[in-house]
């Protein structure tokens, strides 16, 4: 027996057409380099995006060819998200936080044909252009200054294209739409290629009411860069539902974000924990009488805040909850589109205490629909979901990568039965809540027992004098490895190893799990995506 259902491919173009027909009045707000706000309606977005598609086709873009973007979060980048695939191309987001050498290497590896770049990022482009020759460099006049000679002016390109006559490139649902390189702290970055199918499925799943719950009446502030795992898919989700978008442009300093939040209050915001940590500290400081910023900002009560990219300490969740803002933590990777798990109050938590809810909110959460998840022990056995048993997190699903661009098999990132080995070590409890214990390479093995650096860090960061803490393994003759805690005190505050150990003991850590040593440092080094860069700490301290 056969299904009678139509064979209609999933398509990103459908989301664009839908937005153009249903949501023409919705707004897209972009913060410009001079900090002013530029507004576009969805009607303009729709028209400009189709014009971009027409222009790229006129430039000779062929099916599957890459168009790189080197842009902040703003309206033109959003136009690239939809316009490049509409023309049959693949949007390849370049990470502007990487070194010029890395960016150039990645552009060459991806064989990017065109580049869409912000004028304010041309100095960065100049530093890597010798590594890869783009056939055409299209410059977004983001600052308002004239586009320098030798480049294609993005606005002129759109103005010269015929949006009405635009015809979408024919495609199958497995055809590529976007590409993003992993930002591994070791080894060469590798390309992940998303398809129409994976992007539409990810948008539907990510939008579910227990997850980002984006409605048409929402106002969404994606602080997460659009060059980092597609800003967690939010550009696609927001356009699918017609939500208002507020883009911060290049202004990611906490004071700037608080200005923007106050001017255009979001109902949903997205960012990594470090951003929100500094933001809430700045906000709380502004509430004190006598602060130079007293009365300058207002956090919108009821705002949901999606935080991911690194574990979110419970203390940060509580700090926001005190202002009526609920932090929704997730886990994902460039390889998972990226939403893999999300921590929300499931039905099982209906009668749970406030403490229990906060404890759960500080976990990575339950797998999203369409995502399968398993834990594999050292001997390759399936680990039980008991909240105790540790194993390597492996995932599988239609928006999870099964290979890397131009990397042949066998690739040890994948199991023989086709699951992605995430490189994270985790536990899952009886309610399906996952906790990342560590990156495989960050785990501390002391006397044959694992110690979770993430657990220690989160506990340490709950101390009132601690701004940040990163725990690494140091070699030890007797125990193999022992934990070392690198602690950043808050300005003007102090914490002693004794006081920190006391805190850890009070939180249930055993004596042998306490850090062997404390180092007080000025800042934790970070990767380009804002994660703790423990490799640097290990280089500095593990001798």
């Amino acid at each position: 027996m056969q299904t009678t259902m139509m064979k209609v491919p999933l398509s990103l173009n459908h989301l664009l057409e839908r937005a153009g027909r249903l949501f023409h009045g919705s707004q897209i707000v972009s913060r410009l380099p001079d900090k002013s706000l530029k507004r576009h309606s969805y009607a303009e977005f729709y028209r400009r995006t189709r014009a971009l598609g027409a222009a790229l086709q006129a430039l000779g873009l062929r099916q599957g060819e890459r168009v790189a973007t080197l842009c902040w979060n703003h309206h033109a980048h959003l136009e690239g998200y939809f316009g490049i695939p509409a023309a049959g191309g693949v949007m390849h987001t370049l990470n502007l936080r990487l070194s010029p050498e890395e960016i150039g290497w990645i552009a060459a590896d991806a064989q990017d044909r065109f580049l869409l770049v912000d004028d304010v990022l041309l100095p960065l482009y100049e530093k890597f252009k010798h590594l890869h020759a783009f056939e055409q460099v299209i410059v977004v006049p983001f600052s308002g200054a004239p586009v320098p000679p030798g480049f294609t002016d993005y606005e002129a390109l759109l103005a010269g294209a015929d949006a009405d006559a635009f015809v979408y490139a024919p495609h199958q649902e497995d055809d590529p739409v976007a590409m993003c390189y992993t930002s591994g702290t070791t080894g060469r970055p590798k390309g992940v290629v998303y398809s129409h199918r994976s992007t539409v499925l990810h948008s539907l799943v990510g939008c579910l009411p227990d997850f980002t719950a984006v409605r048409g009446i929402d106002v969404v502030l994606p602080v997460t860069p659009m060059f980092h795992a597609n800003s967690w898919g939010m550009p696609y989700i927001a356009v699918m539902m017609g939500a208002k978008l507020v883009f911060p442009g290049p202004h990611l300093h906490p004071d700037d974000l608080l200005d923007l939040i106050t001017a255009e209050p979001p109902t949903l915001s997205l960012g990594v924990p470090t951003i929100w940590m500094t933001l809430i500290q700045a906000y709380d400081a502004s509430l004190k009488a006598g602060s130079p910023n007293h009365g300058r900002w207002k956090l919108p009560e009821g705002m949901r805040s999606m935080v991911g990219g690194a574990a979110v300490p419970e203390s940060l969740i509580r700090a926001f909850a005190a202002h009526g803002i609920w932090i929704l933590q997730g886990w994902g990777m460039t390889e998972t589109s990226p939403v893999g798990t999300l921590s929300y109050p499931t039905a099982a938590l209906r009668g749970a205490s406030e403490d229990e809810r906060f404890r759960r909110a500080a976990m990575a959460g339950v797998p999203a629909p369409l995502v399968e998840l398993r834990l594999r022990g050292d001997a390759g056995q399936d680990q039980p979901w008991d909240g105790q048993s540790v194993g390597e997190l492996q995932v599988r699903g239609p928006f999870i990568t099964g290979s890397y661009f131009q990397v042949g098999s066998p690739d040890d990132k994948f199991t023989p039965d086709g699951w992605l080995r995430t490189g994270d070590v985790a536990t899952v409890d009886e309610l399906g809540f996952m906790r990342i214990a560590d990156r495989t390479k960050d785990l501390i093995k002391s006397g044959g027992e694992w110690i979770s650096s993430v657990d220690l860090e989160n506990a340490l960061m709950a101390h009132s004098a601690v701004a940040e803490a990163a725990v690494i393994a140091i070699p030890d003759d007797k125990w193999g490895e022992r934990p070392l805690a690198c602690v950043v005190p808050k300005p003007g505050e102090q914490a002693t190893p004794e006081a920190l150990n006391q805190l850890l003991l009070s939180k249930g850590f055993a004596k042998w799990q306490l850090p062997e040593r404390y180092e007080f440092i000025d800042a934790v080094p970070r990767t380009s995506t804002g994660k703790f860069w423990k490799l640097k700490l290990r280089e500095r301290f593990s001798s």
Copy 2:
């Protein structure tokens, strides 16, 4: 360039496995024939469903074979929803409201191999069993009485099966999972066959926060029969999110539903307008001092109520809104899985007046993601979305049927370019809100101009003395056709043609659009799915 995403098929089994792992504590409540409540946990549901799968495989069910269900809404029907496809079978829901001849004809047409039937429905089975020989009749002991000899006891079947050893039938995402016959008022019913793919996509879309918005903490009351367009997909959606389900069993009288709502307060309920119309009348009557039911019931404030299957009059929406209950109207068909459009407050209605919001809520709404919609005029031209231009509604998408079971092409239900001709005549306005003007065959053409019977009905039903109104076309020598209004007054109330005409004029109808004649009747005849059966009225009055 190729995508690197995994090739993982969409699968209903994934939703079942997910529920079994994540939501074991969620509840399924079923009302039994004696009106008592039976409770199952999701853990039991998961185990029983896999046992059903194992039992069907042991009975020799082969890939794609049909297992019919003739059941009310309850836990065992839900087990069939997932257990039959898990075994590789196709769940074919038989509509118990049809005549025995029709049911027998449909079972024979579908070549159903097994039947799952409620014991309380065995008398109905006896009436059509001569029309189709099921190889095995499995009886759900729903009433608690022993299963009569000659039948297979559902509970004994499950008890004898090994849920742990169950292995899902291998499948592709386009393989069938369920089948439902259209309940056309003319012509033979035709089978629509849903697939894993269409069902998963429909579940994701239907669950979106602007639509049913089902969260794990929701309590869902599906009054819509599970034999009617899969109860609008709610069984799949609820299980996907782990929501509590409250099934009314055979007790659909307003008093019974109000008892159930009071005992197990839902946060979301689903049903056709006629059910809610009688329910709100019973509830409002109970609020009057001296009513025999005074104080017996409580409608849960904040409950969302999804209503579809026929146009919802604005008066009904206002009647529920007075109790803090928001009615969410949708449009769909068996052929569309069934969610096609839904009326919700889009971003464009942010600043709209209350009256405007009610007016929009009484429309069929905007197309869901993945659903394409167009209006075709008499000459085959695309009609503009201006809220005025009328055309036949045509739809297209991955959960819309492209053919009927065993009906070869050409089939005039489909256009040459592959769209479904819905048989509805509609307008769509500039915000994408669709309004059904009529079924193609119910339109009234008077003097070359269309008159919408639905518009007249909704306006008449706003009169305080009118319980129901159905408008049909009667032949007219001069004008071709003229409208005739069949009006059911509320008990003890009266309405005159003069008063009703006055009301219509005050609502903006032109004189030539007023009914030519009024007939006051006791009840509007209904089809098996609760819709007005205008064919019967035409037979009675059009001479």
